[in-house]
Symmetry: C2
Subunit: 342 residues, 2 copies
Amino acid sequence: MSNIREVARLAGVSVATVSRTLKSPERVLPDTRDRVMAAVEQAGYRPNLMAVQFRSRRTGNLVILVPTIANTFFARVISGAQQAAQAAGYRLLLCDTQGREALERQFADLVYAHQADGVIQLRAFDPFEGSTSGQDLPPIVNACEVIQQGRHPTISLDNVAAAKAMTEHLIALGHRRIGLIKGSKGSPLTRDRLAGYEQAIRQAGLALDDALVCHGDFSLAAGYAGAGKMLALDDRPSALFCESDEMAIGALKRIKEEGLRVPEDISLAGFDDIPMAAYCDPPLTTISQPAEMFGEKAVEMLIALIEKQPSPARHVVLPFQLTPRGSTARIEPPYSDSSFND
Amino acid sequence: MSNIREVARLAGVSVATVSRTLKSPERVLPDTRDRVMAAVEQAGYRPNLMAVQFRSRRTGNLVILVPTIANTFFARVISGAQQAAQAAGYRLLLCDTQGREALERQFADLVYAHQADGVIQLRAFDPFEGSTSGQDLPPIVNACEVIQQGRHPTISLDNVAAAKAMTEHLIALGHRRIGLIKGSKGSPLTRDRLAGYEQAIRQAGLALDDALVCHGDFSLAAGYAGAGKMLALDDRPSALFCESDEMAIGALKRIKEEGLRVPEDISLAGFDDIPMAAYCDPPLTTISQPAEMFGEKAVEMLIALIEKQPSPARHVVLPFQLTPRGSTARIEPPYSDSSFND
């Protein structure tokens, strides 16, 4: 049987090139590949198929599953991930999954198709659920919205503490009726933020009122609609806390349309600190999340899994910061009733 | 030499499964693949390497090169592309290139690595420049910001006409000094929009003034800075036209900080019609682009190239619409000087 040197001679290339062509055809020019393969045929050379085709090799691609590209919070996460991937010599492939499980599975399957080395999921759904058991789980990291008690490494924010801090900020400003416009139904973020809100309300000795909590989905339109409901209440809240800045910006529009002023008539707070938050009128009090760091850390942890580096932490909790801006203020008593001046 | 039936028997699978494992290993479960390959080894079976490893096969992946994920205009383009790709059974891989040529080349090379079937580029740079001649050009479509006289199919807006229409809108409202905050240097979009602005100014018999044109880069911060420069002019403009909504929202903040009102003291116009444009205060007059349609059309044209369908149009121009909102108004004469009342 002929050997690799004969193939190289026939193709007019080096032995190293023949070897590279067989091992990693994607790394050679199409012309070279064609010549080498013609020579392989001509020489009747038979390398070990198993070795050349099925050896475990890396693609250099990382998949990141993004629930919605339209939310600028994720744009910041992606920017951090992109920089970390680049620095480590990986390509980041973004997949707009619209939060749909079928699409998430389909994109995650790029790993099985040997088109990616690992997956970052930014939503609380396991795209490998049911398809693998613990042993052969592909490298995956779950960041931002994480699966509770899941089997993947996670990077998250303490959403309970963050929402509690914002609610306490509003209570400290004298607000007693604080509306909450929630995120998407079923989202662990929303469950945690509601818990933090309720803790703060209870610890301040205030009453929880179902009418003050309404559903949303993190979008501008949901904030606009939610504020409409809150403002229509007989006993309307003096402060609104929205679980995303986009909802807060939507609410801001509605509040102004009702002829009310922020913060003089109603205080307004958001969550995320998207770039637009500092540009709205008034600038938005919000919870700043280290969005870029979510992306960076997720990529670092994923690469550690792929390259089987010792990965110290499986569950990383990133810090938040309450960023007070012009949209929240001390409540102004509507009457000269001294009981409001606390 | 043993045959495929023997391999199937040894592996305990069907002949079809052996065939599929050899042709498309990514389509079989890892366990099955391992069993088949062990049987191939055991039987000493040697399929034609060339046929199994190097046949031209599609990956089902489309690469879209996005200059910046943070700009919400692109989020809309991506949303349209995603839906079209899904409907056609393709996966869309988004690549955040930050407008950097090295990254654009690297992501476009996924096609050479047989990890994608084609490329959509949203910026005026040819990622295959220098690496291929006309004949073996991979499937690629150039949308949004397009290369003039390039070799790729394009989908674009008539930016000259759109900018001219907005400038004429402002002139019709009585504005005589109209500032322009431009997009990124070197961008064909910016060159075309400047041309449209200049045409409208000239055709109205007004004077072009270099002081009224300043550079930007489509970002919030650039709009804020540009408005600062314009407002510092001794003879400041009565209207500002920004080449993106994000710049207009940045400018809006700066105008308000200077104690001026929009539109009473200064009219403000943007470009793109991002979701936030309708939510700012006042809502922004802008040029609406069919952003989703850019994505849809680009995917359709790319798939036509990949699948060698007859592709009717090589250069598609999409329609724009001037969307007047509250941020532009008839100029109010500062003095009772009748020459202003035109």
